[in-house]
C-alpha cells in the first residue's frame, strides 16, 4: 500500500521533483511536501481508489502525517 501511495504522491503531486525519493516515514505536511490542497487531493484519490469515505472526524494529522500513518489508518479501516 505504501508504494502505491508514494507513487501517487511522487508522480501526481510532486512531479518527481523531490530532491530525495519520498520515504514512508517523511512528514508530509510538516516538511512541506504537501499543502492542505495536496492533502485533500490525496484523500480524494484514496477515497476513489479504495472505494471508501474518510469521515470528517478521521481527517486529522494523526492519521495522515506520513505515508506509513496513512497505510496504518487504511488497514484499520478495512479490517
Amino acid at each position: 500500500m505504501n508504494e502505491k501511495l508514494i507513487k501517487y504522491i511522487s508522480e501526481q503531486l510532486l512531479n518527481n521533483e523531490l530532491e530525495d525519493d519520498l520515504e514512508a516515514e517523511d512528514d508530509l505536511l510538516g516538511d512541506g511536501i504537501l499543502d492542505s490542497l495536496g492533502m485533500m487531493k490525496l484523500i480524494l484519490y484514496i477515497e476513489t481508489e479504495y472505494e471508501m469515505k474518510v469521515p470528517p472526524q478521521d481527517m486529522i494529522i494523526e492519521n495522515f502525517m506520513t505515508v506509513q500513518h496513512i497505510s496504518n489508518y487504511l488497514a484499520k479501516q478495512r479490517s
Binding site: 503531486l13 490542497l37 485533500m40 484523500i43 480524494l44 470528517p56 495522515f64
Partner: protein
Amino acid sequence: MKRNYKALTQSQLSIWTGQQLNPEAPLYNMAHSFDIEGFIDNESFKTAFDQLIERAEVLRTVFSVIDGIPVQSIQTGCEKTIEILDFSSKKPKEIKNWMKRRSQINFDFTKPLFDSVLIKVNEQRHFWFLNIHHLVTDATTSTILYKLQVELYKSILEGSTPKIKDVPAFDDYLVYKAVQKKLPISQTIRDHWKTKIDSLTVPLKIYGKECSATTSLANRVSLKLGVDRSKRLKDLASRSEIRSWTQDLTLFNLFTTAIFTYLHRVSGQQKFAIGAPSHNRSTKSFKRTPGLFIEIFPLLSDFEDKDTFFSVLEKVKLETNDYLKNAQPGMSSPELSRSFNVVLNYINVAFPDFNGMPMQSEWIHPEHCDPGHQLRCHVYDMNASGDIEVHFDLNNDVFHESLQNEIPQHFLKVLDALIEDVNQSIYEPSLIDKVSAIDLQPISEFIPIIKQFELQAIQTPDATALSFKNTSYTYQELNQKANQFANYLLTKGINSEKRVAVHLERSPEYIVAVLGILKTGASFIPISSDQPSQRVSYILEDSNCHFILTNNRLVDNITSTQIPYLNLDDDLSSLLHESIEFKCQDSLQDSLAYMIYTSGSTGNPKGVLISNKAICNYLNWAKSYYATKEKFIFPLFTSVGFDLTITSTFLPLITGGELIVYSEADHGPDISLMEVLAQNKVNSIKLTPSHLALIRGADMQHSNIKTMIVGGEDFKVNIAQSIQNSFSEDLRIYNEYGPTEATVGCIAGQYTANHTEASVPIGTSISGMSGLVLDSNYNQVPAGVVGELHLSGFGLAEGYCKLADLTSEKFVTNPFNPEFKMYRTGDLVRLNEFDEFEYLGRVDEQVKLRGFRLELTDVEANLLTHNNVQNTAVVIIENEKVIPEHEVVNCLNCGLPSNYPNTDFDEHGVCHVCNAFEGYKDQAQKYFKSEEELRNILTSQRGKSPNYDCISLLSGGKDSTYILAQLINMGLRVLAFTLDNGYISEQAKENIDRIVSKLEVDHIYGTTEHMNAIFVDSLHRHQNVCNGCFKTIYTLSTQIALAKQIPYVVTGLSRGQFFETRLTEELFWDENADVSTIDDTILEARKLYHQEEDAVKELIDVSMFDYDDTFNKVQFIDFYRYSDVTLDEMLRFLKEKVDWVRPTDTGRSTNCLINQLGIYVHKKEKGYSNYSFPYSWDVRMGHKTRTETLEEINEVIDEKEVKRIADEIGYQVSGESELKQKNLVCYYTGEKTSSAELAKHLKQALPEYMVPSYFKYVEKLPLTKNGKVDKAQLKMLSTSQLDTETPFVAPNGDIEELIGGIWKEVLRLKQVSVHDNFIALGGHSLAAIRVTARINEEIEMKFPLSKIFEFPTIIEYANYIEETLTKLLDEQD
C-alpha cells in the same frame, strides 16, 4: 508570423468578460511596489528584467478575438521593457501617489500585459513597480516573478549562471486541466457544486443592502492586526482542538469563521456563501509556473441559534475540507460565481529580501474591483513580518464612505472576541463601541399640560377653543366649564391621588371632563364607547378608579361595578352651580396624567400608566416640531381610548388653536373622517394609514389640510405618494411612531419624495427620547442591521397597572445609562443611511390591525372560554402583497411585469413564461395554419346557408376591420356584428358606419339591457370588463347565427389572446398529439365556459348552449390563427382600402370607453394591468414589440373618468383594498360551530376590531417539529378558501397530494384543502384544461375535461380516479 492560439481558461474568461463590461476600469490590474533599501545597478536590473521576459511566457502573452472568441497567444519577442526613472527630487509620498495613478492604466490586450518601472528615490533606496493584468497573473505568480528577478539580477552582478531551473509553461497547466476535465470524477464534482449552491435561496444582504453594484469603483480600507494580535491568533491556531492540516489552513479556517460570523451579524442571514480563491497549484511544478491559476469556489455558512465561535469553526473545518477536495482545476463556473458577493482571499505567499537588501512590498489597489464582489477581504503577510494585514475592498455603490470605514472595525470586534474566548457565543461581542451615556434633553421646561391650557386661556380668552356642530366655546368658556367640573369632582373626593374613568363618546363633554380631571391633579382613564361591557368592567376594576363619568347610552356597561359615577344625561344642575373659578393643583411631574388600556396577552387588556412629565415631553416637542404660521385646527374624530388621539385632544388647546369635535357613528370612526374632509374646516389631522387608504384617489386639491400626522401602523410609501399627489403641494405628511408605553410618539419624520423603500421611515428620535437598536444581547447593532428598538427618555410610561412582573420585563435598566429605564418595544427596526429608523415588523405576536394594536393570544384566550372550542390559533393573513410600482420590473424579452402572479425571472431578466415557451415553441407552431386553409374552411359551405356564409365580429378596431375586408375579398357573404355595449367611442362608431357602407356589407348592432349588470359582475369576478363583454358577444352572435342559419362566426382575437383564453403549455406536452385533439379539448373547454355561473348565464338566454348540436351548427373561427399579417401591412391595407382612422377620443388604443375602468380596477386590486399577460404573448408571437406593450400597459388612467363610469354602471370602486389586505383568522378544534355564534361570543369581551373575520374549523391544528402550533401553515390559505364553510383538511395519500400539488400550481395557491371547490377558487375552463392535462400526464390516463366540474373537490376527484383505476385493474384480471 503564425501563432499558436489557445482558448482561455474559465478564470481567464470571467476576467475577460468582466473587463469587456467595464472597458475603462482598471479593475483587474495587480500592481506591486517593492521598496528596496539599497543600491541598484540600473543596467543590470534592466538586463535581468529583459531575461525575465524571455523566460516567463506570461510577460509575452497577448490576447485577441477570433470569430468573436477571445484567444491567447505568446509573442516570441517583446517590444516592451522596463522603464527606469529617477525621482530623487520627489518625496516618497509623491512617488507613492505617482505609483497609485500609474497602477490605474488601461492595458492594450494585443500587447504584453505588464508595466514595469524601476524608480530611484536616492542612491540607497529604489522602488520597483510591477503591474500585471490579472489575466496572466495571481499572487503566487507575483512571488515567482519577483524571485526570478532577484536570481537573474544577482547572477548578472556576479557574472555567474543563475541558479534557476527552467520556468514551466502555463501551457502545461492547460493540458493538465483538459485531461482532468475528462475524468469521470469531474462530473461528480460539478454535481457536487451545483447541489451545494442550489440550497441557497437569497443573496447575502450586507447591512441590509439589497442593491447590486453598477460601478466597479471600490475603496480599499486596510487593517493591520499588529504583531501581538497576530501572534495570539497563531497561538490559538496551534491548539489541538483548533488545528487543521497546516497552520495556513487553520488560519484560513479562523478567518473564515470570523468573516462568516461578521457577515451573519450584519445581515441576520443564516445560510449564505462567500467565495474563496483556491490557488489550484496541485503539483510541485505548478507551484513554480507563472500564470493565472486561481479559481474561486464558494464556502457556505450554516448558522444555528446557539453558535459559539468554536461551533462555527467546527462547521467551517468540515466545509473547507470539502472545499479543498472539490476545488479541482476547471470546475469553477459563472453560475458558482453568482452564488456569492463576498470574497475571502487568504494569501499565503511572501516576498523575500532583494539580494540581501531589505525589501518591503506593497500591493497597490487600483481603486476598482469586480462589481459582483461587493466586499473583498484579503488576508496576507507578504513581508513575513509577523503582522497580518487585512484589506477590505468595498464597492462604492453599495457602501457609503462612513460605512466603509466602519466595516473593518466591526470585523475586528468579531475577530478579537474569537481570539479572546473561542468558546463564547458569537452574539457576545458588540460590533460597535459602547455608546457614550445618552444625554437626554427635553425641548423645554415641563409645565403640566393643564397649566399650559390655563395660560392659553389667559392669553386668548376670546379665541375659539372648541367647536361641535353649531356650538363653539371660547378658551375662557371652556376653562370655566372645566373649572366647574373640577370643583364638582372635589366634592366627590377626587384629588391628585385618584383616577377617574371617562366612558363617553367623542363630545365637548368629554373634553371638559378630561380638563376638569387634570385640574384636580387626578388622572383620567379614557374608555371608548365601542368597548364591550365585559371589557369596560374589567378596566374599571383593574384600574382602581374612584369615579366614572358616563352617559345614558353607556351607563349599562358600568352597572356591574360599585364605583360611584356621574351620568351626564342626568340632572346636572348641581354641576352648573359650581364655581367657575378653580385653583389648579400643582401636579407633580411623576404623578399620573392618564392611563390607557391596550390589548394584553392573557385575554385581558393592560393599563399603561402615563405621567404628566411624559405627556408634557411629547406635546412640548410636537408644539414646536409641527408648528406653522397658522394656529392648529384639529378634528377630534378617532377613538378616545387610542393614544394616537392624545395629539388631537391637546395640541390645539395648548397652542391657542381650535379643536373640532366629530361625533361617533354607530359603526366605527371612519364615516366621521369623510365628514371632516367634506366640511373642510381643519388644517391639521392625525390619523392612521388605514384612514388614508380610504381617501386614496379622491381629489383633495382644495382641502385645507396642510399638516398630516400619520401614526399607529406601518405607513407604505405608495399610500404616502398617492396622498401627496391628491392634495395640494404644500401638504406636509409626517410619519410618527410610538407605542402607548412611550407616550403617543417618540420617533418622527417627514415624508419626502426621496423615500422609495416600501415603507416610509419612521424618522428620528424626538427631543427628550432616544431610540436604540439592540440585538438579543443588548449590543447596539450597526446602521443597516436589523435589531429590536429600545426606547429611553422622559416619555416612557411608569409601567403597567398592577402588572409588576410584566413591567420589569418590558421596562429594563438602560445598560448605557443606568439612570434611565429602557422600554423593549418588540418592534424590529434598522437605521438607514440617513440615520432614520425604518420599521420592519414585530419580534412577537403583537399585531396592528387598522391602527389598533392587539395581541393574538388575547383573542385566543377569549375564544377558549366558548364551550365548543377545544383549542384555537389566531393568525393574521395578508393577501398577496402588492409590489410598489417603482419596484416592478418587466421581462426583458416580452415585458411581462414582475408583479404578475408567480413570475420568475432568470439572471438575464427573462420571465419563466418566455423560458418555458422556448421548450414548446415548435410544438405550438402546429396550432397555427395558413390563410389558404382558412379560405378552404369558410368557402366549403359557401352558398349552402340561405343568407350569409359567416358572421364577422366587428369592434371597429384595426384587427376586426381588417378581417371584415379580407372576408369580403374572399367573396363571402358576410354579416358584420357589433355589440353596442354603451361605451363605444363616437369616432369608433363613425369608423364602423363608414366601413360597413364602404364595404357594402350588412351590419347589425346587438345590445342587451343587462350590459351594466354584466360589467359589474365581470369586475367582481375577473377585475376587468372584457370577460363579461366577450361572453356577451359570443352569446348574442351565436343566437343570431342560429336564427339565420349561419355556419361560422369569425373572431378577431389576437394570437396573444389565444394564450390568455384557449391555449396552455400543457396542450403541447404530448409531442404526438394531433392538432384535432387540441381542437377537441378547446371545444370541450368552450362548452364548459358557457356553463360557468355568471351574469351572462343568469341574465341572457343561453339555453342553446345546453345542446351539443349548437356547437356543430355554429363554429367559431379565430381569424388570426390562420393569418400572420404584420402590423405595418395591416395598417397600409386599412388606409388604402378601407379608410380606417384611429380613434382619438378614447385616450388609448381601443374603441371602448369603459375599458379603462376594467384596467383601473385590475391594477388596483391585482397590481398589474389585465393586458399585461395577453400582450406579453403578442410580443412572444412577434405581433407587438416590447416597447409598444410597455407603453400600453403603463398608460395613465384618468381616475375621475373611471369613477364617473363606475357610478354610471353602478359599480362601487373599492377604496378599501388596502384594508382588506389583512384579515384576522381564527382556526379552532372541538365542535364545529357557526361563525356568527363565535363572533357573538367574542364581542362580549372584545372590541369589534379584535373579532376575527374568519372562523375555520379544523380537525386538528398543524404542529411544528417543536410541537408548537404551526402558524406559518395556517397563514397559507387565501381569502376565497377561508370564505368556504368546509373544514380545512390537507391532502393525504398519493393521489390527493398529486391533485393538490397541481391545483396549487395552476390556481396559484399556497395551500389547498381537500374540500376546497375548484370553481369557488377561481377555477375556470382554461384552468380546467391545465389541471386535467397535468393529471392525465402524471397518471397516464385520459380523463375528460368535464370531470373536474362533476367532481369539483380534491377528495371527490381522487375518489373518482381511484374508482376508475380499480375498475381498470379488475377488467384486466
